[in-house]
């Protein structure tokens, strides 16, 4: 399983890429492997705003449905429209073609509360 160094991670198994004023978010390799084959991704409308920790949408697999929790407070500026026809991108390429949303951040300091790739993997080994 891969956890790129340059990304930040949440305890709810989302990853965050810091891109200045905005961030790209997705779900981690661990999350997709637990959900197994993803069949549907429900993403919020562009322009909608979320507080950190709020549910922004759902990822649905054959087995279960999981909430996508917003790892930071912000406004949705773009969503990955390709997932509509290709939900499998989340399984095959969770950090690339399987990205979910781009958020314009409200409070940049929130990034400090997220985890490094080592800290995140530490949590995973505790969980299993």
């Amino acid at each position: 399983m891969e956890f790129p160094e340059e990304l930040l991670y949440s305890k709810d198994h989302e990853w965050v890429r810091d891109e200045g004023n905005q961030v790209t978010i997705g779900i981690t390799d661990f999350a997709q492997s637990q959900l197994k084959d993803i069949v549907y991704v429900d993403l919020p409308e562009t322009g909608s705003e979320f507080k950190k920790g709020e549910s922004m949408g759902v990822v649905e697999s054959v087995k279960t449905v999981a909430d996508i929790f917003s790892p930071v407070t912000g406004k949705v500026v773009e969503k990955n429209l390709e997932l509509k026809d290709h939900p499998e991108y989340v399984n095959k390429d969770p950090y690339g073609k399987g990205w979910l949303l781009k958020l314009e951040m409200k409070e940049k300091e929130e990034l400090r509360e997220l985890l490094s790739h080592q800290a995140y993997q530490g949590i995973l080994s505790e969980e299993s």
Binding site: D37, V39, Y40, E60, V62, K63, T64, V65, P87, E88
Partner: protein, 495 residues
Amino acid sequence: MKDIKDTGLLQDEPLIFEQGGEGRKGYSLPRWDVEQVKEEERIPSHLLRKELEGFPQLSEVEVVRHYTRLSQWNFGVDSGFYPLGSCTMKYNPKMNEEVARMRGFAHLHPYQPESLVQGILKLMHGLEGYLAEITGMDRVTLQPAAGAHGELTGMMMIRAALQARGEKRKKVLVPDTAHGTNCSTSAVASYQMVEIKSNEKGVIPPGKVAELMNEEVSAIMVTHPNTLGLFEEHLAEIAEIVHRKGGFVYCDGANLNALMGIARLGNLGVDMVHLNLHKTFSTPHGGGGPGSGPLAVKEELIPFLPVPVIEKEGETFRFDYNRPKSIGRMKAFYGNFGVLLKAYAYILSMGAEGLKRASEMAVLNANYLMTGLKGSYYLPYDRPCMHECVFTDRYQEKDHVSTLDIAKRLIDYGFHPPTIYFPLVVKGALMMEPTETESKEGLDRFIETMIIIAKEAEENSDLLRQAPRKVKVRRLDEVLAARKPKLKWNRDQSQ
């Protein structure tokens, strides 16, 4: 020829649309003795249906064989053990079916005047009374067509009751051990859902409720017993916390099969509860209905019940529509009457003692199953259960066998699999509800089979991963079906 297949007596069967031939039919009429007229000449073209073109044309025996074959592929409570957790797949006595088919009931018309259906109104009023007695509530509406419809009726009544007090509240508390419909109902009723995490014992901690409960919360929706098959032991205390802040306690009574005659929800502080008559009170279900989800309420909520309400005046029964605070009608006519009738027949034939005994046996059977399987499967909440118990695939993970594989292997042994991957709070859940109607021999056979499957997982796990083998259709590609669903059949596809 393409239709020749060696499927033995498990006959293969194409769709009915792929069978028959032009002009074939199941009746013969005498020769015309009047001049024949084409319909296009007499009926304006915009009123003529075109989509019937291509409608199958078959002889009577072809139609009979088609549906008989399909029915033989089916598996129901009448064919074997069906421990589908959360669904209460108990045996439905045939006597209730017999009653529902009596001419006087089956030929009723919903527009018959009240004076000609006094017996029917008396029966509905009587059923209401029994359900109120069983749940410890004051009045009941029989209108809701199923459990979730009962929930919606309840949440709309709570909204109306709050409005009457001049209050508008936005939130509903729902524990993570509730039925999924509870969350959906809150959302459909435009409430914001706040989740309560259950504790390590699998029940709602009153402290958490106290923390989350405030004047913004209209109600808590509790499934009792919960989806882990556990008795919510702090329910009375939780109800008090919610009431103190002016909220209501909604109970999802779909699991009432564990409680009849033993615990009355009204006495535990519940303000309203829906029942799934098709589950607890004996109607064959699982095929999509019809169901019935009556809602029982405490006195404070009676003014908000849907119209009409059946009232008794002297020896006469009538529909009361004059109820200004009512939320209105929830269903055309008066509920799914056939299901109400079966429930009434079931309650009368079982009697108070019989219903209590049914719940006792349902709980005993579930605990017997739980104890028998504890050594072979991981039991996340190891304590006495109510009507169902939840295991997981944790012991089988090392052999790369999952809950799905275990479920599929059970089919090879002739059992309907239990509910899997639900409740969501348990990873890889296997949820089993044997119900009261299973004999000790039947339970022993199932336990023994499950133990054999656990051994197979260790010794020859491919048997599980390749299961089911002894079926007409093996594993379906669920991923493809979900990602690229074909929702409509068309003729070209079948060629």
